[in-house]
Symmetry: C2
Subunit: 223 residues, 2 copies
């Protein structure tokens, strides 16, 4: 059962997990883009992943890939490592939040279960990483949470930032400066049609933010 997965395989599984939300298969090109690998290479790897014992993905030519239960478990294990590491790097080692992803992406493949347990304990069993993404439980269940893009809100509206979905370090640094981080309360004051700008007030300050930003910020869902 405990077959040693390579770093490469773990990254593939993680990417497939991320791209196959809602049961949709992850396409070859999407994976290639996500992983920065040529599409041809992805095809090769998907075939291998579908033929391991036990198979880690279900793969149909030209249709893309889905994780098998085994594959999903392996993916969640890596994601748990990743998110715990991000949290640890940020909270305990003082890494700026825009830097944690890259470091965690290397460490995630290498830490032992003992390491995982220790940082989990030191952090007090956190439920979310610094970007607001939920951390899978020790028995690998991913908490299901609903949130909607800030870009879809219309004034007047008060809400709280749940999650920030961005990889670009510069954008993350900017968001941090403006307090556009998980936990921040904000009020949507105005909406401009055509350009989709929102006027919001957050932490006492008022600001206008365009869709290139509001698209990446997820807030609590209304009832």
């Amino acid at each position: 059962m405990k077959n040693q997965l390579t770093h490469a395989i773990e990254d593939y599984l993680k990417a497939i997990y991320a791209l196959s939300v809602e049961g949709e298969a992850a396409s070859t090109t999407a994976l290639a883009a996500e992983l920065n690998i040529a599409p041809a290479s992805v095809t090769g790897m998907l075939k291998r992943l579908a033929e391991t014992t036990p198979p880690l993905v279900e793969y149909r030519k030209h249709r893309g890939a889905n994780l098998t239960p085994d594959g999903e478990r392996a993916a969640l294990e890596v994601i748990r490592h990743h998110r715990l590491l991000e949290t640890y790097l940020h909270q305990s080692l003082g890494f700026p939040w825009e830097d944690v992803h890259e470091e965690a992406c290397r460490l995630e493949h290498v830490i032992s279960e003992a390491f995982e347990e220790r940082i989990d304990a030191v952090l007090g069993h956190p439920t979310h990483d610094p970007h607001g993404d939920p951390i899978p439980s020790p028995n690998l269940v991913m908490p299901q949470e609903a949130s909607i893009p800030l870009s879809t809100l219309r004034p007047p509206q008060v809400t709280t930032i749940q999650r920030v979905n961005a990889n670009d370090a510069d954008l993350l640094r900017y968001l941090d400066e403006k307090s556009l981080v998980p936990g921040s309360k904000l009020e949507v004051r105005a909406f401009s049609p055509f350009d989709g700008n929102l006027t919001i007030s957050i932490e006492g300050a008022e600001m206008v933010v365009g869709p290139a930003i509001t698209h990446h910020i997820f807030v609590e869902e209304e009832d």
Copy 2:
């Protein structure tokens, strides 16, 4: 200058460093034993390491390998990572000292300079790892320290444990139990010829230890 070294290469350089104390070249077999790799494979790697730009080792057929200045710098960088990590795992994350080596051996190849600096700062710039080995300075100078095997002492003698040289986890666990760790003061009370046993008192307790143990314990040198 900053060529990306692979994990495998880093482990070779570290092993060559360890085996080539006093300028002696590291032999193929010794490296093979240290790295758990077939001698033939070691030969192949040594040739590659001697032909990189810049060369990392100086290699002469049947004569073994020495590090070039570039190779030594790379080795010291990895050793610094390793020893800082061991210290961190032990002190900050509460890993038992017999487990830190294995974990550090994987992490050492993967942490960034930022990570290195953070844990160094959190630990207060430690000079020695949990086994008493000196940590190379940030600019990669290895402190030179003299110590002698406990097995060479003869009563009566009082000394302090400086360093423990062992990889076996069971032995390390045992030593820890008996307070045979760096920093412990001890008194050599008696020596048995033929079997080489030493009677020592440490932390109030008296005990007899054989050469299989005293060989691995290094104490401060007399003047």
